[in-house]
């Protein structure tokens, strides 16, 4: 037990700090260690250069395929009637979905004071911004004449094009651009105090000047923190309904159409749950190697991963319920076209993709009921890869089978993606990881100020923290069991 000295009753230091509730980082001793350990990750390494090289190579493959598509026309991308939405729209929805977990973790879990978000939210926010940047490319790639992309923006003009604000495609433009702007703003505002830390530690004059500019002259005064905390709270409050609305709007692209399999009221919550599920999968894909290579296991603890895995399990079950309800509604509707479509989805032409989706998204995540597997980073990483795969196939199953199997047999057809589709898909991963890798070597991948906030502050007189110490003593897994 710790030595307990009773401070005077009115000592403000005794009041609990809300943000520190339920989260402790026993491997971190003081504020200086936070700066030292996280800033050590900014030094470029050979492995980082190799990873960046691979990402840029993938991007070059994607760019080359796009140039070929522009030269040859959209036919090079495997489009053939009736399937005129293919891999590009599938991948667009996939990346928008990936972007959702970042805002969930940074905004919604912030409002709920979930302790495990503190060490993973910066990476998740970066993932969000870069994923939405990637998603935004796909409507342009999907255009036959991409240089006219600005025609997508629904402002009144005199080109004899009718902007229809009742169309889900117009809502999409508003939703995605708002999401990108607000996510990027939220991300940058959270970074300002940490950039100030980098500025104060930097010795290279050029880099110091760059950090000084980016930190906007932040100096950690009480005035700045007071307004910062309030602004951050409001941004989180705005981002919370926004994250729910954006994928709802994306789902309207499908649900507003009469096509079998799309015209369903369950689509908005189904898409939102799927987006959060896929995003958490991608968070695991990124954070598990990152904490290992950067030796940050004492920051992103096994307990944090365990808590995130529970969220992953919950969203997987919500997604599974949405899949089942789709079948139930088709069965009970008495609508022959719906029933035909869903039968075709799981036992017909597209059965292989539907079963990949079901196994990856509904069956394998059930393993997370096991605490042992939730705390096994190798298993979590492998599972996250299958979740990414399963969620890409979920969007494939939504887009392609519906278009290939509409109301009448003469409307039925097939779809065969070409090397152009696959190359651009690969290129999108290259684009995403290129930005991410560049980010983690320029900016702290964890929020320095927020991590300091959850640490016990330095005190001249010992304060009664016996409840914290008891918890540490009682939970041997808090530090043990890590890889």
């Amino acid at each position: 037990m710790a030595t307990v000295v009773q401070p005077r009753p009115d000592d403000p230091a005794r009041r609990p700090n809300i943000a520190s509730a339920g989260n402790r980082l026993p491997g971190i001793r003081n504020y200086k260690q936070v700066d030292r350990d996280i800033m050590a990750t900014l030094r470029p390494t050979l492995a980082w250069f190799a990873a960046l090289g691979i990402a840029i190579l993938c991007l070059i493959v994607g760019i080359a395929a796009w140039m070929y598509q522009i030269y040859e026309g959209l036919g090079a991308a495997g489009y053939q009637p009736p399937v005129m939405w293919g891999v590009y729209i599938v991948t667009f929805v996939f990346w928008v979905g990936i972007g959702h977990a970042g805002t969930l973790i940074s905004a919604i879990l912030y409002l709920f004071r979930a302790g495990f978000r503190t060490t993973i939210y910066r990476v998740s926010e970066a993932m969000t911004v870069f994923a939405v940047m990637t998603a935004g490319l796909f409507p342009i790639l999907h255009l036959g004449r991409p240089w006219k992309f600005f025609w997508l923006i629904p402002y009144p003009h005199w080109r004899l094009i009718w902007p229809n604000p009742k169309s889900p495609l117009v809502w999409d433009v508003f939703a995605i651009l708002t999401y990108l702007t607000v996510s990027a703003t939220f991300f940058y505002v959270g970074l300002i105090p940490d950039i100030a830390v980098l500025r104060d530690h930097e010795t290279n004059p050029i880099r110091k000047r760059i950090y000084a500019t980016l930190s906007l002259g932040w100096r950690n005064s009480d005035r700045e923190w007071r307004h910062f905390a309030r602004a951050y709270l409001f941004l989180a409050a705005f981002a919370t309904p926004l994250v729910l609305s954006v994928h709802s709007v994306v789902s309207f692209d499908f649900a507003m159409a009469l096509t079998p399999g799309w015209h369903a009221t369950v689509f908005p919550p189904y898409f939102v749950a799927g987006a959060i599920f896929s995003g958490i999968g991608m968070v695991f894909t990124i954070i598990i190697p990152l904490r290992k290579f950067f030796k940050l296991q004492h920051f992103v603890t096994i307990n944090d991963l365990d808590a995130a895995a529970k969220l992953c399990l919950f969203t997987s079950m919500v997604v599974g319920l949405a899949y089942l309800s789709e079948f139930q509604v088709a069965w009970m509707s008495g609508n022959q076209f719906e029933q035909e479509y869903f039968w075709n989805r799981v036992f017909g032409q597209w059965a292989w993709s539907a079963w990949i989706m079901l196994i990856c998204n509904c069956v394998l995540p059930l393993s997370l009921f096991s605490q042992k597997l939730r705390r096994n980073t190798t298993w979590l990483f492998m599972l996250s890869l299958t979740i990414n795969l399963g969620m890409w196939f979920e969007r494939f199953v939504i887009v392609v089978p519906s278009l290939s199997h509409e109301f009448e047999p003469w409307q039925w057809g097939g779809y065969h993606p070409t090397f152009v589709d696959y190359s651009i898909l690969l290129g999108s991963f290259g684009w995403f990881f290129m930005w991410f890798l560049l980010f983690i070597k320029q900016m702290p991948s964890m929020a320095l100020a927020e991590i300091k906030e959850i640490l016990p502050p330095p005190m001249r007189r010992p304060v009664d923290r016996s409840h914290d110490l008891d918890a540490l003593t009682l939970d041997p897994n808090l530090t043990a069991g890590d890889d």
């Binding site: 009742k166 508003f174 939703a175 505002v189 100096r219 602004a231 409001f234 705005f238 001249r460």
Partner: protein, 166 residues
């Protein structure tokens, strides 16, 4: 501006120093802290941030603009589809909502910058790089007549360094 800066290694010492300085009628105290702490807010007793007003005004402006642009576009191209009204408020709620969030968020950030007085191009008197790392700083504006008194309070509460700045 003239004053005294004291650097503290511990939070409770900082809090007690602020309380004593306030008792001795020192005002406009600025505290530098590596992370926001409620203990310091309690000691300083500042009013609630006014950022919320920017948020409210920005949000309402965005909501109005969102509905307005959708209705204006519809009236400009008044094409009746399926016998429905040319301007229909239900689908326009999506555009209204998105712009509420967009303009409300940007106004919040603008408000935060304005009231925090950033971007700041000049170095602040009293600021030290150690305050972003782990130490706490207390800056007390004081003329030559009261600087000694302020320095004495800071030292008494355990400041690791006290210096006059101008």
């Amino acid at each position: 501006m003239q004053g005294v800066i004291g650097a503290f290694a511990e939070l409770d010492s900082t809090v007690h120093a602020i309380e004593d300085l306030r008792k001795q009628n020192f005002s406009d105290i600025t505290v530098y802290t590596p992370t926001p702490r409620h203990e310091l807010d309690d000691a300083l007793q500042h009013p609630t941030s006014v950022v919320r007003r920017f948020t409210l005004i920005g949000g309402l402006a965005g909501l109005t603009f969102g509905y307005w642009i959708a209705i204006w576009i519809s009236d400009y191209w008044a094409i009746v589809v399926g016998g429905k009204p040319v301007a229909s408020w239900v689908p326009y709620t999506i555009i209204g909502f998105e712009l509420t969030v967009l303009i409300g968020s940007l106004a919040t950030v603008f408000g935060m910058f304005a009231v925090s007085r950033i971007p700041r191009l000049t170095t602040t008197v009293g600021y030290d790089a150690r305050f972003s790392e782990g130490d706490f700083g207390v800056w007390v504006p004081a003329g030559p007549d009261r600087a000694g008194e302020a320095a004495e309070v800071l030292r008494r509460h355990g400041a690791v360094e006290v210096r006059n700045e101008r």
